[in-house]
């Protein structure tokens, strides 16, 4: 599904003293099957934007088009398109309400009017996709689960809708390092298998580097950068100026460069930085030896 955001404005509580403009003319296009990261400081409009992508808010001005239909419309065409977008809010486990894990994950598919057998098949598949053992989990009471398990159940209840566009707002916040890696690996495998569109809102630059191909940076309701993730996350000065961090490998390479090392700085991952530094080191050692022999 093609997503087109066209000069989107959003003002909360318009016409009151508390009026607050969250989006000030955002235009972006996201094609089917893209993996896109959205980053920006608190209050930059990330969460407002993703809610618009899911058709949950009405634009103050501008439009969000899902395959050519305005996302927020009340028409049947808009409704079927909205159903193809799955949005997991931050801390989605706060919204768990059913008595058992099975009922929680089945809630969405049941609302789609699916047959009971299909519902059961989808629940089974969705639990497996997020790394939970369906047989062991189905009859558990959600509130006796650990935080990490609850997060997975909440995500399963969204992927059970088989969305074509999956939007995850800080999906790994509060998870431990192993849980984070495992969950993202599963989401990535699912995306590669289904060619769905994946939109990831995150402050974690390492995660973004590993998962998305394209990064969009928001500040004060505007898009200030949009491009290949490698390029966007390598622009240390711009990131720091809006209060964001630079990926640690990049920060390290930049510091070495300042110290006179000939290293490329657009290496976002630890293993890439290691290769880059090892090469530069070998070169320096070689040069040192030449100088010594000269």
């Amino acid at each position: 599904m093609l997503i087109q955001v066209d000069r989107l404005f959003h003002t909360y509580a318009p016409g009151t003293p508390l009026a607050c403009t969250a989006l000030q003319g955002v235009s972006v296009e996201i094609g089917a099957g893209e993996r896109v990261g959205i980053l920006g400081p608190t209050g930059s409009g990330k969460s407002t934007l993703v809610q618009h992508l899911a058709g949950l808010l009405e634009p103050t001005d501008g439009r969000v088009w899902l395959d050519g239909v305005a996302a927020h419309e009340r028409s049947a065409a808009a409704r079927t398109r909205r159903r193809r977008v799955g949005l997991a809010f931050q801390y989605p486990e706060d919204q768990i309400f059913e008595r058992t894990v099975f009922r929680e994950v089945a809630f969405g598919p049941r609302n789609l009017g699916l047959e009971e057998a299909e519902i059961a098949a989808r629940v089974h598949w969705a639990l497996g996709m997020v790394g939970l053992e369906p047989a062991a989990m189905a009859e558990r009471v959600p509130f006796t689960l650990s935080g990490g398990e609850m997060r997975r159940v909440a995500l399963a209840s969204i992927v059970s809708l088989r969305p074509e566009v999956l939007i995850l707002d800080e999906p790994t916040a509060g998870l431990d390092p192993r849980g984070r890696k495992d969950l993202l690996a599963r989401v990535l495998a699912w995306q590669e298998e289904t060619s769905a569109t994946l939109i990831l809102v995150s402050h974690n630059l390492e995660e973004l580097s590993r998962v998305v191909e394209r990064a969009i940076v928001l500040t004060e309701g505007r898009v200030v950068a949009d491009g290949p993730v490698r390029q966007v996350l390598n622009d240390g000065e711009s990131l720091r100026s809006i209060g964001l961090d630079v990926p640690q490998p990049v920060a390290l390479l930049q510091a070495l460069r300042q110290a006179g090392w000939e290293v490329r700085t657009d290496r976002l991952l630890a293993e890439e930085a290691v290769d880059e530094i090892t090469q530069a080191w070998a070169l320096r050692m070689g040069m040192g030896r030449q100088e010594a022999s000269a």
């Binding site: 400081p41 990926p247 630890a270 290691v274």
Partner: protein, 276 residues
């Protein structure tokens, strides 16, 4: 009993509705001296938050003892004295704010201590100043950013004049700027106001920046030492479901490739100055 916090053989089990129980702590021994800055790390479900809640008597031991400043937490007579010494700041600032302006919110703690009005005023002013949010004193907390809200929660804890503050993942809901603000504030409170700090965190980078790291695993303390020692043990950490800070990970891999790096390199600055 000289240490500020002294925990011996602490066990904790949560009862379940069906009569069973979940054992969260399985015999924890821990000593924290006055003025220490300790990072408590561990995978989800390892017992960190349960342990934290024992430090100011929010939970009572199933077995074992906890002393705070020489006071046994399981003695009901000590409860107020213990809570006055140990403040808590939780993950989600939204759940901790109770009043309609920042200064009223910060005053909530001292008001409950039934202090004279002038003393409350003084403590609120000092707490706002200590975390750097005096300019927002009359703002409604809900109009502040996540990081600022968390600073209000820190000021609220500070206004009761605790000896120790336990921070339970205070930065996990914040953006990088909010994170830096909170961490800088916590560091200053520890260095300048001599507040004993227990920081629960999932960020190995945060843990690498403090004086002592305690790693929990399945209700036990699995590792305890200075970050330079703890983060040398990458294999052990991974077996606990934890990780190395990115910079340390890079340092280890460079050493494996033959670069002359000593152990205990924790920061990019240290790495660069060692290599250059």
């Amino acid at each position: 009993m000289t240490a500020f916090i002294e925990i011996q053989g602490l066990e904790h089990a949560y009862p379940l509705a069906d009569g069973g129980q979940i054992v969260a702590l399985r015999g924890v021994d821990l000593t924290v001296e006055r003025g220490e800055f300790v990072a408590l790390v561990g995978p989800n479900g390892s017992g960190k938050s349960t342990l934290a809640r024992h430090l100011n008597g929010l939970l009572m031991p199933t077995a074992g003892q906890v002393w705070v400043d020489g006071l046994l937490t399981s003695d009901p007579h000590n409860l107020w004295a213990v809570r006055q010494r140990v403040g808590m700041v939780f993950q989600n600032p939204e759940n901790q704010l109770v009043a309609s302006t920042v200064e009223e919110d910060v005053a909530f703690g001292p008001e409950n201590l039934a202090l004279p009005r002038r003393e409350i005023r003084r403590r609120v002013d000092e707490a706002l100043d200590a975390v750097g949010i005096t300019e927002y004193r009359t703002h409604p907390p809900q109009m502040l950013s996540g990081g600022q809200k968390q600073l209000v929660a820190v000021a609220g804890a500070l206004a009761t004049r605790p000896t120790c503050i336990v921070f339970d993942e205070p930065t996990s809901m914040l953006d990088p700027l909010g994170r830096r603000q909170i961490l800088a504030t916590i560091r200053r409170l520890n260095a300048e106001e001599s507040i004993t700090v227990l920081l629960i965190t999932q960020s190995m980078d945060e843990a690498a920046s403090v004086g002592r790291v305690v790693a929990m695993h399945e209700g036990h303390i699995a590792m305890d030492g200075p970050p330079g020692d703890i983060f040398e043990q990458g294999k052990r950490l991974r077996s606990l479901g934890l990780d190395l800070p990115a910079t340390v990970e890079i340092a280890h891999r460079l050493r494996d490739r033959g670069l002359p790096l000593p152990g205990g390199v924790l920061t990019a600055e240290a790495l660069v100055s060692t290599l250059c």
